[in-house]
Each structure stands twice: as C-alpha cells, then as structure tokens.
C-alpha cells in the first residue's frame, strides 16, 4: 500500500445497518415474517400434543384458540404468513426464469401461477377439513 497515508475504511453498524434505507427495512420485515411462520408451526405442534393428551386437553386448546387473544394472535400470524408468501412469490420469476424461444415468460404469469396454485391447495385443504 501507499506510504503516504492509508485509505479510510467506513465502518458499517452491525446491528443498525438496516435503518440506513427503506429498502433495507422492507427486507427486514420480509425476514421477520419467518418468526411468525415459526410461531404458527409452534401453535400447530402444541395442538398436536394437546390432541394426543385426550378430549379435555384438546377442547381447552380450542377454547384458547377461539378466545379474543387467540384470534388476534392467529390473525397476526396469518397476516405475516400472507406477506411472507406474497414476497416470495414476487421474486420467483428472478430465481426461475422461463424462456420460451427468444422471450421470457412475463413475471406476472409465473407469479400468477403461484397464486393460482396456492388458491387451489387452500380450497382443497378447506374441503378436506370439512369447511364445505
């Protein structure tokens, strides 16, 4: 390196870097949704356990789920889960470009296919669950 003074290195804050721009904040919100997905998985696991513990435990679990706090929690989890899915759907065309001849399939088509698939699977599950 040069003998005439060293280049200056600008430090990047390890814990507050994402506060620097709205772009980074949006990224962190996307990442944070995984916490809620994990929460949802936890609720399911607890539910399974309660189911294995017999009728009373299961019904207490359901009561908790339908109580105001339980409903709010599930709505919150649902909101983040939807945002999680949406944000990932939106980037799939970049990760999986589909080329037909000299043109690429428009991103909207690929994203639309994901939403369509989501919709179909959701309806199927609801059907299996006896909702209709």
């Amino acid at each position: 390196m040069s003998a005439h003074g060293k280049p200056y290195v600008r430090e990047v804050s390890r814990y507050r870097w994402f506060l620097r721009s709205p772009r980074y904040m949006r990224y962190m919100v996307r990442e944070v949704t995984c916490v809620f997905i994990a929460l949802h998985a936890l609720v399911l696991l607890v539910g399974l356990k309660r189911l294995s513990e017999g009728r009373e435990a299961w019904e207490t679990f359901l009561d908790n789920l339908t109580a105001p706090f339980g409903v709010q929690l599930q709505l919150l989890i649902l909101a983040f889960a939807i945002y999680h899915s949406m944000s990932w759907f939106n980037v799939t065309p970049k990760a999986m470009p589909v080329q037909i001849g000299e043109k690429f399939l428009p991103g909207a088509v690929i994203i639309g296919a994901h939403y369509a698939g989501w919709f179909i699977v959701s309806i199927a599950l609801l059907f299996l669950a006896g909702v209709f």
Binding site: S2, A3, H4, G5
Partner: protein, 596 residues
C-alpha cells in the same frame, strides 16, 4: 525510484492493448508482460463504441469489396498493402473473439449476423446489439484474466518513454494512488493509448481520450502522421456530445432538416431511397465525412433546426418500430430518453456532428513498428495507415484486433532477434530526468493560470478554426493560439500539490499531451493545401493528388511548432478515383459486380 523489470510493456488496456497482451501471453507463456493503463481496463473508451466491427464473412461479400470500400472511403490516402493485410486478417480476428465468448448478435440459423454500415458496399459489420465495443472490450478483458503472465498496472499515468541509442527501453509512470513515479524497464513497448478527441469541446470521446501515447512517441522523435484528419461522427447528442451509433442509419434511420427534407440527396448522396430501406453506400449510409460536411453546408443555408444546444439535424427512427429499436438499438433509446428527454420511438432525435476519431497518429509501418526500435503502436493512437483521410465506421474496432496482434508479433520478433546492448546507466539517467521534470512541475510557484482555463482556450480555437471546414486564416490563428498556450502551459503551477490520486496533476499532464497533439493537427492542416476526406479547406477545395497524395509527418521540435514532412502512400491495385456515393453509380457498380 522503484524499477519494475518486464519483457514487454503495453501502454493502454483498451481493445488494442488487451489484444496485444493476450497475443503475447498465448504465443510465449514465459514472457513477462506489463499491461499499464491510466484507468482500469474496463473503463477504456473502446467500451463506448457501439455499431460493430467489419470483417468479410458472408457469401455475397469478398475481400476485394472490403478493400475497395476502405481505400475509397479513405480518399486514397490509405496504404493499400496495409489495407490488404487488414481485410485479410479481419475475419480471423472476429472469429477468434467469438471463440473467446463475444456475444455477437446472431441470425436465426446460429451464424453471426452482420449489419449495413456507412460507406460499405456489402453488409459486413459484425455487431453485438448496439454495444459492440463494450462487448469486445469486456470479452478481451475477461479473456486476459486467463493469463497469469499478464501483470497489470492499473491507474498508472505514463510520463515519458525512455529511449537510449535509438532503442525504447521502457517508460516512467506515476502510480496514481501513491503519487510515486516508477520506472517500467522493458525491452519492447507497445503503445495502445487511443486518440485525442478531447482537444475539441464537442466529442463522443470520454474524458480519458487525451492523446497521451501519441504525445509520448512524438516527443521521443516518432513523427505523428496525418494528424489533420479528424473525423466527425454525424450523429452525436447535441448537449453531451455522446455517440448515437451509425447503426441507427444502418437499420434504416433517416436524417432530415427543418423542412423535413432528407437533405443528403442534395450533396451527391442521392437519389432518395425509400424510408426504412437503406441502400448501402448512399444517402444516410454515405461515409461520415460527407454526411458531416453536408450538415455544415445545410447549417450555413439556415436549414438546420435551432435548439437550445445549437443547430441540429433530426434523426428519425420512428418507422423502425418499438420492437426493432429495443432489440437492435436499446442503448440509443436509453440515451436519447435520459439525456435529451426524447423517445426515438415516438419523436425524431436532434443530433449534430461531433468529433469522434483521429485517423492520424503515431507513424507506424505495416507491422505496427515505429522509427524507434522496440517501440510499436496499434489502435487509434497509431496511423498505419489503413483509414487514410476518412475512416469507415466499424473498421476501427477490427483495427484494434488486427494491429494489436500484429504489434505483439513484431515485439516478439524483435525480442527474439536481440534488442541490442543496453547501456543501463544511460537508461537510468533517462528515467531520472523524467523524475526531475515531475519534481520541477510540483515545485513551481506564482502561477496564475488554471488547467481548465488553458484547456478551454485550446478547445475553443480547435472548434472554431480546425472544425469540419477549415481556412488558411483560421488555421494560422489556431497555430498561433496553440503555440501561445504551450508556452503558458510550460509555466503552469499545480493547484493541488499532494501525492495521493492527484487529478490536478493528471489533468495537467493530459493537457500537455493534448496541446502537443493539437499543434500537430493544426500545423499539418495548414500545410495540406487541398481538401481530402475529413480535411476540408474553404481556400483549397479540390483534392490535389499531384502534390498531396502523401502522408503528412509532423516532427516534434520542442517549444517550436512541429516540422512537417511528407511520405509516399502505398498504392497497389486501386489507383486514385472519384468517391461516388450517389445511388445511380452504386447501382451501376452493383450490377457490374453481379455480372462477375
């Protein structure tokens, strides 16, 4: 001063420099190669070239056609043996580039595509969308990374060639990041440093095109050849001067004046061809010098469109349609939209001729060798000459490859045959002198000028007196102004006297190079009392083959203006004729060709 020992030093890492370095590395892997550039290689101005590179490849074309197009385009000032070599090597070089991964645009069947270009009878311009130079440069740069024997010195500004006993023994350079001068001790040097368009105020050239290598060779005693021939590119953006490729016209774009008339037909390039169906070598596909000159005449008649940036002609691409423009001319659309606020899909684009290329440069022979042993030159900085008095578009990118490689071959031959006995102490004195000169520049005080001020004055006189049309009176004024500027420059004081990345120093050295080159341009232009190709005189309007079918050679004389001498042009099979870009003649020629 640190001494860096190497076998061959390449000065400039654009298309020609990289091609030379790769050639050396491939031919002789044990060779130590120093690739020295004042910028990182990907910044070299080769990246801005857009249209393409010419090489005979299609079955309807022939080497003969390329030969005649080039020689005629050069107004018979091209050395025909060199042109022969050039056109022969061209297809091989372009194929080699393809083998190195260059993303040439393709035809449906997978073979490389070619497009029409100005002054060419047949389609032979290979292209990569409208960023051909960019792709060529990056292909070469990335390929050069394969070779560990190529050692790069990025952001080193070369200050002096060290010549001892008629042999080039390397050069001194300032390392920008430290401000330290280093001596690159090589036994062969290839200069590939580009042109000097920045001596003019309106140019397609980037900031770095300041004639550094031309000045180095010039000061070391090598003549600068044909410097008066400066090419104007007809379609530059009127505010920034940046380039809108000739391919706009190759794809069918038309040029109109304020009355909507395709005025080129009034200047020997008619008859008018159908819109969107260009006929090679006529109308908008005429050669650059003729098209720029037509603009000048129309402007004098008051037929150009006045805009806030001056008079312009309109480049109309609307009939091409959005799809074709996005596929073949995407950069053009982006630039017109961003910098002018005009979308070529919906509106005509105002353009004007801007300085683009220097046909002249370091005098080399057909093997890229100069009069100094061990010193070679290739690319825009050199003048072989294949381009003569006017270059055809898309010959230059090919020239980089052909002569970049040729210079490498010559350098290798020279090294193999013995480079003479070097007097190391005399050589060191040469390097130390360069160091002393640099120190002296730093030590000056009481200066009242600025680099920018002197530069502006230089540009103003070049624009006014050495433009598309010149006169004896104007050129004399320019010569006097430049002599004065050179004298004032010799006394300039730096505003920035620090060491680390001192761009005041950089711009000072660049200005010094430009002033020397500019003086070579104006004095050569004054002495050439004829009109030929890109050099047009209002006081000598005819071409004078009797007196001036020769190359001008400008020889450096220190503070004095250069001495101008002449050398013969090599004529082999194309005796000087008339350059005819009218449609009728072309049609006649075409049918004659078909009959063969």
């Amino acid at each position: 001063m640190e001494i860096i020992k190497t076998d061959v030093a390449v000065l400039g890492a654009g298309g020609a420099g990289l091609r030379a370095a790769i050639a050396l590395a491939e031919l002789r892997p044990s060779l130590k190669i120093a690739l020295v550039s004042k910028v990182y290689p990907m910044r070299s101005h080769t990246c801005a070239a857009e249209g393409g590179a010419a090489g005979v490849i299609k079955s309807d074309d022939s080497l003969d056609h390329h030969f005649h197009d080039t020689v005629g385009g050069g107004d018979w000032l091209s050395d025909q043996d060199a042109v022969d070599y050039f056109i022969r090597e061209a297809p091989k070089e372009l194929l080699q580039l393809e083998h190195w991964g260059c993303p040439w645009s393709r035809e449906a069947n997978g073979s490389v595509a070619v497009r029409p270009f100005g002054g060419m009878k047949k389609q032979r311009t290979w292209f990569a969308a409208d960023k051909s130079g960019f792709h060529i440069l990056h292909t070469l740069f990335q390929t050069s990374l394969k070779h560990p024997s190529i050692q790069r010195f990025d952001e080193y500004y070369v200050t002096d060639l060290v010549v001892e006993d008629g042999h080039c023994r390397g050069f001194t350079a300032v390392e920008m990041r430290s401000g330290q001068m280093k001596f690159i001790r090589a036994n062969a040097v290839i200069i590939a440093s580009g042109g000097a368009g920045r001596m003019f105020p309106f140019t397609t050239n980037g900031a770095i095109k300041t004639g550094d290598g031309m000045a180095l060779a010039y000061r070391a005693g090598v003549p600068l050849k044909d410097m008066e021939f400066v090419q104007y590119h007809p379609t530059g953006l009127p505010n920034t001067g940046t380039l809108l490729t000739e391919a706009c016209r190759g794809e069918g774009g038309i040029l109109v004046n304020k009355n909507g008339r395709r005025f080129l037909q009034d200047y020997g390039m008619g008859p008018e061809t159908p819109v969107g169906q260009p006929v090679l070598k006529t109308m908008e596909l005429g050669p650059r010098d003729r098209v720029s000159q037509a603009f000048w005449h129309e402007q004098k008649k008051g037929n150009m469109v006045p805009t806030r940036w001056g008079d312009c002609m309109m480049l109309d691409l609307r009939h091409l349609g959005e799809q074709k423009i996005d596929e073949r001319l995407p950069l053009v659309r982006d630039m017109a939209s961003s910098y002018l606020g005009v979308d070529p899909v919906t509106d005509p684009v105002p353009v004007r001729p801007v300085v683009h290329y220097m046909m002249g440069g370091i005098d080399t022979d057909i093997k890229a060798a100069t009069s100094v042993k061990g010193l070679y030159a290739a690319g825009e900085c050199a003048c072989v000459s294949i381009n003569g008095a006017n270059r055809l578009g898309s010959n230059s990118l090919t020239e980089l490859l052909v002569f970049g490689r040729r210079a490498a071959l010559s350098a290798l031959e020279y090294l193999d045959n013995g480079t003479g006995t070097a007097n190391e102490s005399a050589i060191t004195v040469g390097a130390d002198d360069a160091q002393a000169r640099l120190r002296e520049l730093f030590s000056r005080s009481n200066g009242s000028e600025t680099i920018a001020g002197l530069r502006k004055e230089m540009m103003a006189t070049m624009e006014e007196n050495a433009g598309i049309y010149r006169s004896g009176e104007g050129l004399e004024k320019a010569c006097a102004t430049l002599a004065g500027l050179r004298e004032r420059f010799a006394r300039i004081e730096l505003h920035d006297k620090t060491n680390v990345y001192n761009t005041d120093l950089l711009q000072a050295m660049e200005l010094g190079a430009m002033l020397d080159c500019a003086e070579a341009v104006t004095v050569s232009a004054l002495e050439r009392r004829e009109s030929r190709g890109a050099h047009q005189r209002l006081d000598f309007t005819a071409r004078d083959d009797q007196q001036y079918l020769r190359h001008s050679l400008a020889r450096y004389r220190g503070a004095q203006p250069p001495e101008i001498g002449y050398s013969d042009v090599v004529i082999t099979r194309s005796p000087p004729g008339v350059r005819d870009y009218s449609g009728e003649k072309s049609a006649g020629e075409k049918s004659a060709g078909e009959q063969k």
